[in-house]
Amino acid sequence: MMFREFVEFIKSDEGPAPSAQQREAASPSKVIGAALPRIDGPLKTTGKALYASDYNFPNMTYCVPVRATIASGKILRIDSSAAAKMPGVLLVLHHGNIMPLYRNASGGRNSENRPPFEDDTIYYWGQYVAAVVAETFEQAQAAAAAVRVDYDSQRFNVSTVLEDSLPAEGQPGGPRLLSHRGDPDAAFAAAAVKVDETYTTPVETHNPMEMHATVAVWDGEKYTLYESSQGVMNHQTVMAQVLGEPKENVEVISRFIGSGFGGKLFPWTHSAIAAAAARKLNRPVKFTLNRKMMFANVGHRPRTQQRLRLGATAEGKLVALRHDYRNHTSLGDDIRENCGEATPFLYSTANLAVTSALVRRNVGTPTPMRGPGAVPGLFALESAMDELAIKLKKDPVALRLSLDTLEDEEKKKPFSSRHLKECLQVGAEKFGWSRRTPEVGSMRKGDVILGWGVACASWGASRGASEASVSLRSDGTVRVSSGTQDIGTGTYTVMAQVVSDKTGVPIDKIEVILGSSNLPPGPTSGGSTATATIMPSVVDAVNAATKILMTVATTTKGSPFNGKDASKLMLMDGCVCEKGASSPVPFQEILKAANVGSADGRGRSGGLGADPKARDYSTHSFGAQFVEIEWDPGIARVRVSRVVSVIDGGRILNKRTATNQIAGAVVMGIGMGLLEETIYDPRNGHPINDNYADYIVPTIADTPDIDVHFLDIPDPIMGEYGIRGIGEIGLAGIAPAITAAVYHATGIRVRDLPVRIEDLLAHTGPSTKRA
């Protein structure tokens, strides 16, 4: 989804402005920014953290789907007679016998709008056409293989060439004009130096280590769904509508998630199938996807085809920028990959246009994948910038520095905090960029040729409304909770850090409860907005709980503060104390003396839209990526050997988890640059490399020396701590920096990701281009 749409999505739940008075930012304690280990680490390393498919209940049953083996057509007949007679088989669900499942129209976002088994139509290979439920997983699997489905197969299209003829710009189904200023076409025509190239990015599959799963429990009145979800609140909102239940009858639990990368933002059809089966059988149902299903049934980053036109003066002033892109989407859903996310504001130019168009393919519905839009978009834009720098005979860092701007020329507003220039300068310094010689193949290290490339990164910054709850408890611990979740990025840990910062209570005395839709509504873990969204509510909740504590302190007989003015008291280092006086008292002593179990506070915060100050600024994160590759022409081998990633992502709450996020994104970027591509067999539409041996991602051996550096500059618009988000920006810019480095080493410009050996063999010998 477009970041803009994501912001609208989170704004749709916009609450009132913060209930407590906005405090002026005090200098945070040392716990903010500390490189603390994850507080949930021991649970994970000892196997105690329960992921969705780890939940087991008495009478559990197991659901295995039957998947379409055509990409388009109709189901003529489903013969489950043999399967139904097999040992342990309890139920075979399909479009002929599924209970009513509904489309959602009242808020929340689903992935595939069409409920599973809605009718007999097949839209993509692998679509669920039936599901077998049995006493054991093996029985269900064997029976699923015995279900016979006859199809009327129809014409389909999975072509990677997105040249479909479309209605004119502005017409229904035609390209949409997303940004426009000046006269880009005239300026381009008149420009002294031009780049006009088309770049493509392939379908990528999210492939989190933990596969999607639902354990559905129906108790006769309500559903409990154990999910691997990036948004328990949204999942509840959507599933209540899909199942036709009031919201309070659906609880969603997602305590630990083995990552999502966007693929788990919104519910997928297996959740409804599991719930429907649980209701029908009145028994718990476990539905775990296998790796093959991960490639067809739960989204992907759609293929993009992007034409970039850059026009510059001979001196390097950017006079025209045109970014016209297409992406594929499914037959049922319009998923626009916002490739122009960063295009309108990354560089200063007076003449600009961005257009976007969709073409339909018989594929599952695409869904946001880490840095949706911006990441493939920046591959095109930053590749074109590199090509422009070469044409201008300018250093690519110097060119970008010369085009930097502190004003968002699209919105005509200043950036709240933009330090792209510093990112480039710090990165160049750390990388040793000044030693770069620009000629192709001119740098060597032993027997290999080095290639150095650079690219800029950008990702939006925003925050939505949220709520949280904090309890100061008489045993000296603090509990903080919210209906958000930790997808492996460190949300548990950074929430504990903020509570510790505000109360002075040490981290090991703070309990963080997340991952249930029964908790105060918290943010979806998406768009790099969860941390910035939840922290104002956590602070507000701490303040509300503290207020209760102070009331107890000043109204309890025997309390040293009895009768004092509560507004003169403060909570410091876990103790209540009077401003200007000594003799602090641990907060739990106050509660114990009053026989109060806990002082509870509920916190709320509105999103960026509820903050009038925010309207005057454009908020984004920035970064610069420097990549070194080693090129061995004798065997056409390219390996990434060194990356410096400098990130301007607002204040960093935890150096360790933040570094982990960026370094992980760099590794993912190596996959995007050199390895990853989901291939649909054009003869049948099957994503044919649907396994970990044929869809390859980087291994540890492919992981280079990665130097992550944060500018760590708080964003004045992004709440008390000045937090932006860092989940996605680390991936932005890596792929174009790799292809720039590949060009620098080999002289071969790869405009179609990923870079493959067959692209590079041309360098020193005859080659056969891949089909």
């Binding site: 064997a142 065997i635 067999d681 050996i757 056969t768």
Partner: protein, 333 residues
Amino acid sequence: METFQFSRPTTIGQAIQLGAKASTAQQVADVRFVAGGTTLVDLMKLNVERPRQLVDINLLPMEKIETTAEGGLVIGALARNADVARHPVVLRDYAVLSEALLSGASPQLRNMATTGGNLLQRTRCVYFRDTVHACNKREPGSGCSAIGGHNRMLAILGTSKDCIASNPSDQNVALTALEATIQVEGPRGKRTIPINDFYLLPGSTPHRETVLEPGDVIVSVTLPPPRGVKSHYLKLRDRAAYEFALASAAIVLRLNGKKIEHVRVAMGGVGTRPWRSLEAEHVLQGRTVEMETFRRAAEAALKDARPASENGFKVELAKRCLVRALVTATATA
């Protein structure tokens, strides 16, 4: 996966008896021996292999690695890849085998995978591994989906109009260059098969991959006394680890000054079986070490290459692989 019987014989004789009941020892075998299980269990989960009976041979006394009186080495069929790769005699006399083993799979897999099992490693062709698609190797006579399909990883040598599946093993490429022999015990007694006679070309029967018959138990692999003092295994692939070869080369040779006195060349990732290149050996034999000769050897090795729609690049890549492996092998002390 389908239900199967499971037995654990403790003698080779018992294993032979159980295995002899099979209708075939090739694809669609109804009785299968299982050792490390790293290929077979995968294929059973995918319904590609559907044995009625599994015979676990892990209790048989076949795990030892011992030197022979003639100065060779006998590697028990159950010796794990990890143990073979780190064995001092292998490291000293047959380094190419250690290099090949360590370039394959992952440490976890190498701890389980056995020498005998790896000899029978199955292709990674995506169509072989998915029962939805036609595959002559999996279901004789059903057709080949790989021809005209996604075949970037597949073979360019030894292919037929019925099959272009590549043999994925690293170990067997090194064993081919080392001229290993395979000891088999079966219903009709013991026999020794040179590795180059062990594998079949696909022809019109790609489901038949080896000369093994029902009841045949691979008991060991014997390496002849070391003939080359220089060797090298080079594996080229898209990523740095845990991936099958796009092209690989195993070289074993002995030099007299600059003259090549003895040379064996085998290639992986490009053939439908581990690919011994007599053509390359012929070019190299008796010549002096120089790039021009290496390049001619590579040309000779790939002369008969027949690429499919996506793997044309492998012809050039395999040549470069061979040249670089020869450069490295002749340069090592």
